[in-house]
Symmetry: C2
Subunit: 330 residues, 2 copies
């Protein structure tokens, strides 16, 4: 193996291709949580699974469907990458709690309770008001806990996030976001959320999507890695990892669709603006999966111990996967 360390990324949504899978392999990623839903309903999500099944057939020397923590170890040993499915919205379960288990059976391991807007389960970070987890949301969290589908609050509003941490009987995740103390943004998280997440055994994945970065596309590796070390002080070194939010090779029409779906006739610019509506440029130290080793070097450069670097780069997510993806008593 070219990379002795275990690398796990808890969020990517690339325009998938042989080129990207080869970069993932070259970068030494053993596991990636990939988004297979932003606005899709159940049947549309199933089509995305079908598309992935074809990729698993075509590139089985590089990737395979990950279901358990053991699959990460297998991937590491074989020099391949385990692909774990997740949803950035609860739209695939529609209004049917029975679909929670069906989605798990089809491979889903993470589900956000909300994207940016109000959902049937909770409130997204772009709503003006956040009443917390709904009646259906409480039912669905219980069912997600039962089957081993991780609650992800990356795009949720503050109160809903605090309530999800409280209501969920298993640790939850914020797979891709950064702390507000470093860069104030609707998508980033307060110290209160970070502390509650850490105390409950949950995980935060650090995002390298420029709108979440201090200085955006000009953010430095040193600033990013210093922020990671500072966040460890807030919520614990064992509760943090990477969740890059890499959206490689996607046309701007994709971020337009992410923001607007089919819910509005006005045009919503989300984290962008009318004059800068597209995907922002990645910082030069994280262009694609081959740059994961830059993060490892960067963490060392800010004085993090080898053990802590390994924890952040992959071991923490592996431990979280181990305890999260099956029934409680399995």
């Amino acid at each position: 193996m070219a990379h002795p360390s275990l690398y796990v990324d808890a969020l990517q949504y690339n325009n998938w291709s042989e080129e990207v899978f080869k970069q993932i392999n070259a970068g030494g990623l053993s596991a990636i949580h990939v988004t297979i839903c932003y606005h899709e309903d159940f049947q549309e999500m199933v089509q995305n699974v079908i598309d992935w099944n074809r990729r698993f057939e075509d590139y089985d020397d590089l990737i395979f469907l990950g279901k358990t923590a053991d699959d990460v170890r297998t991937a590491k040993a074989q020099g391949r990458t385990a692909i774990f499915f997740g949803y950035q919205n609860c739209s695939p379960i529609e209004d049917n709690i029975g679909l929670v288990e069906i989605c798990h059976q089809l491979g889903a391991r993470f589900m956000q309770l909300t994207y940016n807007n109000q959902s049937l389960l909770g409130t997204g970070c772009y709503e003006a008001n956040d009443p917390g987890i709904t009646r259906m949301g409480k039912q669905v969290i219980k069912e997600m806990n039962r089957v081993g589908l991780v609650v992800d609050m990356s795009h949720s509003a503050e109160r809903s996030t605090m309530e999800a941490i409280e209501i969920s009987e298993r640790p939850i995740a914020i797979t891709h976001a950064n702390p507000v103390f470093w860069h104030a943004a609707l998508r980033n998280k307060s110290n209160e959320v970070l502390k509650a997440l850490g105390e409950s055994g949950g995980m935060l994945g650090f995002s390298m999507y420029p709108h979440h970065l201090k200085g955006k596309s000009d953010c430095t590796l040193e600033s990013f890695c210093t922020m990671i070390a500072d966040t460890a002080d807030v919520m614990g070194i064992e509760n943090i990892g990477i969740g890059s939010d890499l959206c490689q090779n996607q046309p701007d029409s994709v971020v337009e669709w992410m923001r607007n779906g089919t819910w509005t006739r006005d045009r919503d610019f989300g984290e962008g603006t009318a004059s800068a509506a597209g995907f922002p440029a990645q910082p030069d130290w994280f262009k694609d999966n081959r740059d994961f080793s830059n993060l490892e070097s960067g963490l060392r450069s800010v004085g993090m111990s080898e053990k802590d670097v390994a924890a952040v780069m992959g071991e923490n997510w592996l431990r979280f996967f181990e305890s999260s993806f099956g029934p409680v008593n399995a």
Copy 2:
């Protein structure tokens, strides 16, 4: 015509049959707003339209699909009944604002923004917290206003209802509910809502579903009609009508489905209780559509003028239909 007065009922959800249609005809109803959706998504709602299309074929001497106020006049002249479609939930538009116009094209004339729970658009009356109309809700109200689909807040929570009245550029309806001042219930409405509704030109339909009645199944006709007269004092005689919420011949499994749909694994009893989970018995003065004339007599008995009785029994709804079901400039 057996009935000189115009009768319009703004909400029924019966177990439809030849027997019921004959009672509707015998009762002299010229228009009924029927519910064709509680939890259905778009395609499931379309199947309900298909079922109604068969009924319109089979019983065209008694009923036909109503689309405009003129259809009510036609029905009255022909001794038939115009059936207007409505949804008690926004589930048929899923997360697609383009489906608002499609639903109108398929005959829908009323759509509740919420049933009892939080929806993508607003908050239902059984939620603990009500943050008001959502981002998507504001977009959808604008689109409903454009095409002539009436916003119905019968099952919505207080703040969402007040905001819908404020945001909607056309008068809205609460098709089936009663005032809290008469009978306190989560489904009944505060004087604040009633006043805002009246001042905006909106309509309230009085419900005879026993859980909404003072004394429930034992409610007297006199008490009900006195309440109607008192409500006229609060919100204006021109803004009230009947919305009986008649659910005739339905098995108890239907009310169980209304309450629980597929959103919960626990059992929700809604307005009922574990020991009285089924449909409650109708008051003896309103068993089916043949009892509409009892309401007319009852209103006269509490001293209401002939003109006001006619307004409540049907003329108010006819005027509201006239101004609500088409584009604004039609």
